[in-house]
């Protein structure tokens, strides 16, 4: 693996074996994350973005879920290259929290209500860095200070319910960063927060990334947040990556019809002329994961659908130039403006 790369995921497959059949939640997803970079994974519910992040932490509930294929190469802080898909549980426990940390959408349910925030932050420090409780609490206070919580020493003794949603997400970030991870996985970290609090948390994450230099895997459905945070973007639909590109081309020159549709369906405050025009919605619904459409899973909702072409085989992920990857058989036609809308 390239020196500059921290993570390389190749053909990851995560399946859930349910009574009704096999759900291919992640079906052959590949991406990489460079050191110090933010990769955003965007998608709607059921796209497999959260399952991808849980798979990297090896937190897929088994059964019913299972990583059935692929590699997840990760360069640890010790310089060793590991395939996280194959490591044993003991190694994973050393990696979780130390090399890779995670923050979740709901800061209330991901903190333990019966322990003080100080104890919860100190736990990881004691475990991974072998410090005494006293030293760990001291470091916990420094972390709270770092994430902008006023009076950090006093706050150590607080319980989660004594804090607001924004404060709790700051505590989660403090806890995640307490062992200096090289990768932070953020799964919809601001979705449950109000927009002014979201702005605070995004600013904080950017500031901390500059200071600490960790890479971020940012899972979100909010395209505004993606534009603000990401260096590169992976767009997922029905368990597959349909487009991958740097952030500017993703927004300015999207190649996959799903990415285009997603961008058009967002109401835009910044386009003054758009006021009171109709939104261009994507028709139909996200397909049932137990019964995906044949061929390209997006074809029943796609305005460029061509019978006999799009519904035959799953399109391959192709390089459209400069590392801009797209999974659509008609992308070149569409880009040239030759594809006829169905």
């Amino acid at each position: 693996m390239d020196e500059n790369r921290l993570v390389e995921v190749k053909d990851l497959e995560v399946h859930f074996f349910t009574d009704d059949g096999v759900v291919k939640a992640v079906d052959g997803v590949s991406f990489h994350i460079n050191k110090g970079e933010t990769l955003a994974v965007v998608g709607e519910s059921g796209s497999g973005k959260s399952v991808t992040s849980l798979a990297m932490m090896r937190l897929i509930p088994t059964p019913p879920g299972k990583i059935v294929g692929g590699q997840m190469l990760f360069r640890g802080k010790d310089g060793k290259l590991r395939d996280l898909a194959k490591e044993d549980e003991a190694t994973m426990r050393r990696i979780r929290g130390n090399d890779i940390a995670m923050i979740f959408q709901e800061p209330m349910t991901s903190l333990n209500p019966v322990y003080t925030v100080g104890d919860q932050i100190a736990e990881a420090i004691v475990l991974h860095q072998g410090k005494s409780r006293k030293e760990a609490l001291e470091q916990a206070a420094e972390m709270l200070d770092l994430v902008g919580i006023p009076e950090p020493r006093k706050r150590l003794a607080n319980y989660p319910h004594q804090m607001s949603g924004g404060m709790r997400q700051r505590v989660m970030i403090a806890m995640a960063l307490s062992c200096n991870p090289s990768l932070l996985i953020a799964d919809e970290p601001t979705t449950a927060l109000d927009v002014t609090i979201q702005a605070q948390i995004l600013e904080l994450m950017k500031k901390l990334q500059e200071e600490i230099g960790m890479s971020i895997l940012f899972i979100t459905h909010n395209l505004g947040v993606v534009a603000e945070m990401a260096d590169r973007v992976v767009v997922m639909y029905a368990g597959r990556a349909v487009e991958e590109a740097d952030v500017v081309p993703t927004f300015k020159k999207p190649l996959h019809p799903y990415t285009m549709g997603l961008l058009n369906s967002v109401p835009r405050l910044d386009l003054a002329a758009a006021h009171q025009q109709r939104l261009e919605a994507i028709p139909g619904n996200v397909p049932n994961p137990l019964d995906l459409p044949p061929g390209c899973a997006f074809h029943p909702r796609c305005k460029f659908y061509k019978p006999g072409l799009c519904d035959q085989e799953i399109p391959a992920l192709q390089d459209a130039g400069g590392g801009h990857m797209v999974r659509c058989v008609r992308w070149a036609e569409i880009e040239r403006g030759e594809a006829v809308e169905a």
Binding site: E44, S45, S164, G166, M167, D194, V195, T196, I197, Q198, A199, Q200, L202, E203, H221, N222, L223, G224, V225, V226, A227, E228, A230, V247, V248, T250, F251, K252, G261, L262, L263, N264, S265, V266, P267, R268, L269, D270, A272, H275, Q276, R278, L279, E280, A281, I282, P283, N285, V286
Partner: protein, 336 residues
Amino acid sequence: MSAVVPEVATRPLVEVENLKKWFPIRGGVLSRVVAHVKAVNDVSFAVKKGEVLGLVGESGSGKTTVGRTILRLIEPTEGTIRFDGVDITHLPKNQLRAYRRKMQIIFQDPFASLNPRMTVGDIIAEPLVIHNLEGSPKARAERVAELLRMVGLNPDHVRRYPHEFSGGQRQRIGIARALAVRPEFIVADEPVSALDVSIQAQVVNLLQDLKEQLGLTILFIAHDLAVVEYISDRVAVMYLGKIMELATSKELYRNPRHPYTEALLSAIPMPDPTLRRERIVLQGDIPSPINPPSGCVFRTRCRYAIPECAQVVPELKEVAPGHFKACIRDDIPGLS
């Protein structure tokens, strides 16, 4: 539509004056009232006939309580609610029913607001039964089929149960139920917040079409300013139980005059990575509505606050035609 005389067109359908809703907090062995949550604290506005008024605010701003109080699903503590010129604030239940038919609500959560044990047909027909409309079962069935078509669902699905539908389809069922009794006024309480982006656009478009077709008046409550801007004619911005600013949606977004609106707009991440804006990051959290700050409730997070802001409760004043703001400072560059 074009034949409507302007005065009639702008006549308010719903008027709210000095509305207050304080929820008591009880404590101690005698469960005495020890404090109040001032969820809505002196709010006045009017919704004109045929317009969509957007009501935006963050959690705890009181926007949902306003919507429910207008429908008298929650009883107001103080103030007046008028519907079509009639004071309905203290109407007894039997007289209120006639107004309930004219005012309906669409809820945020399409999963929690439909009874899982009723078929879609029964869910949509229930308001017709309650209000004794479309008397015969056949007429009701026809009306249900018509409603399903109207919201873009297949009328053959009347016998299905809510769990057989996706989130977006369920929200369409909720809309059909609200429209069943041919209401004039609809409170849409975060109707698209729980939906995926691509589905959200479908439902916003549907609401816009229905508003045109049926001449509905809508109070559209949401926390997402971009969605509100899209659908609303005018927008009111709430913070901690008060209206901070009210203007046409174009004016509000292009020319905000209240420091809170300015900060709120700048906090929204735009889906354009090449856009570089100066962001105003508000410090701290929304104060507790149990003990809101004196004077202007926003002053504790306002970057323009002066000592006087703690003294006077700013009135919602008209600062330009149709543009109201509640701020004592009119000397802030860029906001006046």
